[in-house]
Structure formats: C-alpha cells, structure tokens
Amino acid sequence: MPSSIANAAPAATAANLNDQQTQDLHQKIAATVGRIEVDDAKMSMRDVDVFYDDKHAICAVNLDIAAHEVIAMIGPSGCGKSTFLRCMNRMNDTIENCRVSGSLKLDGVDIYDKKQDVVQLRARVGMVFQKPNPFPKSIYDNVAYGPRIHGLAANRAELEEIVVTSLERSGLFAEVKDRLDKPGTGLSGGQQQRLCIARAIAVNPEVILMDEPCSALDPIATARIEELIDELRKNYTIAIVTHSMQQAARVSQRTAYFHLGYLVEVGETAKIFTYPEHKLTEDYITGRFG
C-alpha cells in the first residue's frame, strides 16, 4: 500500500462543489483566457479532470505544450498545478484514490490509453522533483540508473559516454568529474538537483517535467538551474511548476495560471507579467492574495 507516496503528493484543496459561493467563483474561471492551442504541439491536453476521491482537483483543463518551449505553471498552493504536471507522465497512477479523465496526448498518442505502457511513457517524459532526491548511490550510478534499466547502452563504454554527456549537459561534469564514485547525496543541494536533472536527461526524454525544482535551493544554485533550463530547451520540451513568479517570468516562454483546479489564463510570459487579462491572474502575480 503506497500510502507514503500519496502523502508526498500535493494536497488537493480545490473544489467543493456544494458551496454556492465557490460555485459562482467556478463559473467565473471555468473558461480559460488566452490561446490554448499552439502550432507544433508536443503535448496536448483536452478536458482533463482529476479527482482525489470526491475532490475535484483539476477541472476541465485544456492546454497545449509546444515542442522546445518552456511552459511555466503558476498558481496559489493547492491550485492543482502539480497535480496537472504529474498527470503528464502518469505519476498520479501511484496515488490510489486519484482518477484522471480526459485526453492527454504526447505526439498525438493518448498517454492514458490502455496500450500505453507507463514505464515507456516515463522514459519519454522525465521528471525532476521539488526536493533533490538522488539515490543513495554513487554519482555515476545515479545517472547510469535510467539507461541501465532501459538497456540504452550496449556496453560499459557507451554507458560511460551517456553518463558523461548527461552530466555535461546538466553543467555538473566539471564539478564532479574527479569523484564520480562518491555518493550523490554528498553533493550540495544545487548540485544534487542538477544531478537529478542529469539523471532525468540520461534516458534522453522528449519532455522534462519539473515540479518546483528550485524551491529548496539558494539563489545562486537557482540561477544555475534556470540557466540550465534555458540550455535544455534546445533539446527538450520543458514544463515547470514554480511558486516563484519571478522564476516563471525568467525561464518560460509561456505561462499558465491555475486557480482552484481551473486553468484561468495562459499566454506569452511577457504578456502575463505585464498585462494579464484575467483579474485573478493579475491579483496573483501582483501579490494581492495568497
């Protein structure tokens, strides 16, 4: 019974539909402001609903994510942004009472289809978590783990090449090249998070999901990660959930604002941060409510 995973998931505090006031509010934010569609959609979500038991955590969200873009998801705590992110590589499967409906497509193929293997999906859609969580193994083994279980390397030399490339891409190689056999847990917080990114990109995913990747890091480590995200955009599509609006403004091309499980507004980051159209978006990014 994986209750421990359930506890780690974001608490879904959205939607209690019985309440008249909230119902009114839901009416107000049910329709998303801004353009949902993009021209070259890597992922395409339509009418996504997520329930935790009877709690409606995500309500009819439509969103496209373009290839090679960084899309930031912002919103107050419990707005469902993390839940939505976790739907995109089916990490919510591990939560027992979680139910997902609607269509979520990766390159036009529904990822919740019965024929879709979840292991294969997670190889294509990698994930970086809020708290740096390297395995209690060596740095090398951390990065090599993904390629090993998927059998991506034919021999040791190939595996080593994958590890080195991944560490280089995550900007960590220069710092750790002399101690690849040392435990990954001995690195600093920022280095650990970059190790986790290296681990994610070692399987060469198409999409990388980042769930508040910098919330446990100091500003300099954060800046490094943000720089790295910008670099990674060349090869990967990135969706990032963040509590820091400045971070969303800095790293993303598009920004999506979630509220009470609804996608309230989505648009170019530059526009969202200077002239958001929806009042809730405005209130949130100007710090008018918590």
Binding site: S4, V119, F129, N133, P134, P136, I149
Partner: protein, 431 residues
C-alpha cells in the same frame, strides 16, 4: 504604563519563576538518574547471582586411578571382538583399582560407598577408550576419571565438613578417603568439557547442554528459514503492492494483534495443527521451528513494514520518475535501504524465539532426551526448556548447571543483539 515598564515587569516575573523551574528540572534529572542506577543495580545483581552460581559448572572434578586393563577383570578373551568389548565389565576395572588404592576397606557396605566416589561416567569413558584403542588390553595406566557429583560438590565447597554425618551427602569415612586421595594428588579440577559435549543425563556430572544447544539451533534454523522470507515478502507486498482496502486493513489489524498473543497459545496451536492434524513428529525441532515461526512472523512483518515506511517517498518517486517498474523500484532502491531495519527486526524476533519456552512445552520439547539430536525431525529439547528441566531437579549439582545454561543462553542473546546493532550500523545508509 509604558512599554519599557511592561517589559521590565515581564523580566521581573520571569526571574521570580526561574528558581522553581530550575528546581523542577533538577528534580526530574535526579529521578531519571535514580531509575537508571536502580536498573543497573538489578541487572548487576542478576548477573552476579547467575554467574556466581553458574561458573563452578564449567569445572568438574577428576580422580586419578591406576586402571589395570586385565582381560580377567574385564571378563573377556585375550583378543575380543568389538561386541565383546562393549559388554565387558568396566565397573569391575574401576572397583578393582579403588580396592587396590584402599586395601583396608573390606566390608561390602564400605566398599560400596567407596565405589560411589567415582561417577558411573568413568565406565563409559573406559569403554570408549578400549573401543578406540584395543591395544590397551593387558596394560596398566594411570587415568583421570570423572568423580561423582557429591565429591564434585565437596571440592567446590558445597559440603560442610562440620555438619553431623547424617545431614550431609558424604559420610565421615568417605571424607577420610577423599583426604587420602587429595594427599596423594589424585583429585584435580579441570575444565568441564562434558558440559558442552554431551546431552542431558540423570547424573549431574554427566549432564551437558549440547543436546539442548543443537535443539535450539535446529529450531532457530527452521524458524529463520521460514519466517524471514515469508515475513519480508508479506511486508513488501502489504507496504508496496497491495491496494488499500477493507481486506488489507483487516490483515493489518490481525498482524498487530497476533504480535500480542501470548506465546503459549501458539504452542497449543502447534500441538493441535502440526502434531495432531499433520502428524508431524512430537518433540521435534521442526515443529518447534514452525510454532516459533508463527510467533515471530508478526514481529518480523511489523518491523519490516516500519523499515519500508522509513524509506523516504522521494526515493520511490525518483525511481518511478526515470521509468523504473514497481518491482525495480522495490528491489533496486527500497529494499536495500530497508534491509538493515528488516534484519534488525528479524534478529530481535529470533532472539525472542531463542528465549521462548512456553510454546515448546506444548509440543513436547520438554521431554528428557539424552541423545544429541542429529536432524530437525529427531526429538530434542531447547536451551530455555533445558534450564527449566534442570531447575526442577533435586540434585544439588544441577543448581550450578542451571545457572551455567542460563549464562550460555544469555551469551547467545547478547551475541544476536550485538549482531543486530552491527548490521544496522554497517548497512545503514544516510539520505
């Protein structure tokens, strides 16, 4: 009142109460210290009493006799077969040599009390000697043979010479013989190998714990082989795979309840199921192991689940996030991190099983068994049961045997617990 005044007043109030608060703290610390000291005192008293009564058992008294392997005394032919040797009159050898030592003793009753000084184990020893080396026949050898338990007790200071004759186990006459033997340097105390190499016996000087030790060992092996894999598999399934439902809740509650069930109940269960229904051999370590498995399983499952729960969920997420399957997640990441905790739980469960006697009584492992068991299906007894049996025996010499067996049991428990601590320290990983 200005704010500064209020603040000053607060300081005064706090200062006034400080003394009382510190006094309470000191009182508490004193109580804590006292209870720790009390605990140590009791522990020390326990160890002191057990060790002081038990240590003499590790020594036993031997008497040197000049044995004449005369075929005439042995009542055998000059070149006997092994069957003939087995049936020879070894008691006669001992008696003959004692008669030679004390030619003055003529009366039948006196002679008998003289013969009592040497253990009947001496005959077995002589037989073994001849069976392994028949060439001794016809030769005369000075041999150290085990003394009777009364002589042994006397040598260890257990018999008071000042008491009137009818109140002690050795007569005045026997004491004069003993003095004579001592004078001649024919009595000696040696390390008691018999204690570790033989099974139970009615004669204290011949009784050993090897049978009980092996019985315990076989029982524990059966318990370990069954309960470790079953317990860990159950824990992993319940913790990582089973979906939460009413059934898993029921199972969880029942496991917790089983852990609290008195062990004798498991014994009754074993008797009813394993022996009466499945017709397994009575008194066998196999059944004992099965019963103890039932008893330790809940402990192991609970400890293993706790160990699994303590593995941070972020590790699971990380593994799933790179595309590991559930099984890979468990075997590659969760299990290695949880294993030290599981091993600790298992060893503690095993230590409990080692010290358990009540359920074994139920399935007949309490019988008087002289033979050292050779397999898990042969009748055997276990260490704690052996202790119970000896503590019940009337002979004075069994008191020290009881304590000695307790010492051995405690040593094993300490070793097992130390192993648990060592394993935890050795394999524990920080994250």
């Amino acid at each position: 009142m200005s704010n500064a005044d209020e603040q000053a007043a607060v300081v005064d109030i706090v200062t006034a109460g400080l003394k009382r608060r510190y006094a309470a703290e000191r009182r508490f610390r004193l109580f804590g210290l006292l209870s720790v000291v009390l605990g140590f005192v009791f522990l020390f008293a326990l160890f002191a009493s057990i060790i002081s009564t038990g240590y003499p058992a590790f020594q036993s008294t031997y008497v040197q006799l000049d044995i004449d392997f005369d075929p005439a005394i042995l009542d055998i032919s000059a070149s006997p077969g092994s069957e003939e040797l087995s049936a020879a009159n070894y008691a006669g050898l001992v008696k003959h040599s004692l008669r030679e030592l004390f030619p003055a003793v003529k009366k039948r009753r006196e002679r008998r009390s003289l013969y009592q000084l040497v253990s009947i184990g001496a005959e077995y020893e002589l037989r073994n000697r001849l069976l392994t080396a028949p060439s001794f026949i016809g030769r005369k050898e000075a041999l150290w043979l085990p003394a009777n338990d009364d002589l042994d007790t006397f040598m260890k200071g257990g018999i008071d010479r000042q008491l009137p004759q009818e109140n002690r186990r050795l007569s005045d006459q026997q004491l004069t013989w003993i003095d004579a033997l001592l004078e001649a340097g024919r009595i000696e105390k040696r390390f008691n190998t018999v204690f570790f190499t033989s099974g139970d016996s009615r004669e204290p000087e011949l009784a050993g714990i090897k049978g009980a030790l092996l019985g315990s060992f076989y029982t524990l092996i059966v318990t370990l082989v069954l309960s470790f894999p079953i317990g860990i598999a159950a824990a992993i399934y319940l913790e990582e795979f089973a979906s939460r439902s009413r059934w898993t809740d029921v199972i969880e509650i029942n496991i917790n309840n089983l852990a609290a069930v008195p062990s004798i109940v498991f014994g009754l269960l074993g008797l009813a199921v394993f022996i009466n229904v499945f017709d397994l051999p009575r008194s066998a370590p196999l059944v004992g192991g099965l019963v103890l498995t039932l008893m330790t399983l809940p402990t192991i499952i609970i400890a293993s689940r706790a160990a699994l729960k303590s593995v941070p969920p972020s590790i699971r997420e990380a593994a799933l996030g790179v595309g590991a399957s559930r099984m890979q997640m468990v075997t590659h990441h969760v299990l290695p991190l949880a294993l030290p905790g599981m091993l600790t739980g298992t060893i503690i469960g095993m230590a409990r099983a080692l010290g358990e006697s009540a359920p074994l009584l139920m399935i007949g492992m309490v019988a008087f068994i002289v033979d050292v068991p050779q397999s898990i299906t042969e009748p055997a007894t276990a260490l704690p049961v052996q202790i119970y049996l000896w503590s019940d025996s009337p002979e004075r010499a069994f008191t020290e045997k009881t304590s000695a067996a307790i010492i051995v049991l405690l040593v094993f428990l300490v070793v097992m617990n130390s192993l648990a601590v060592y394993l935890r320290k050795r394999f524990e990983k920080r994250w």
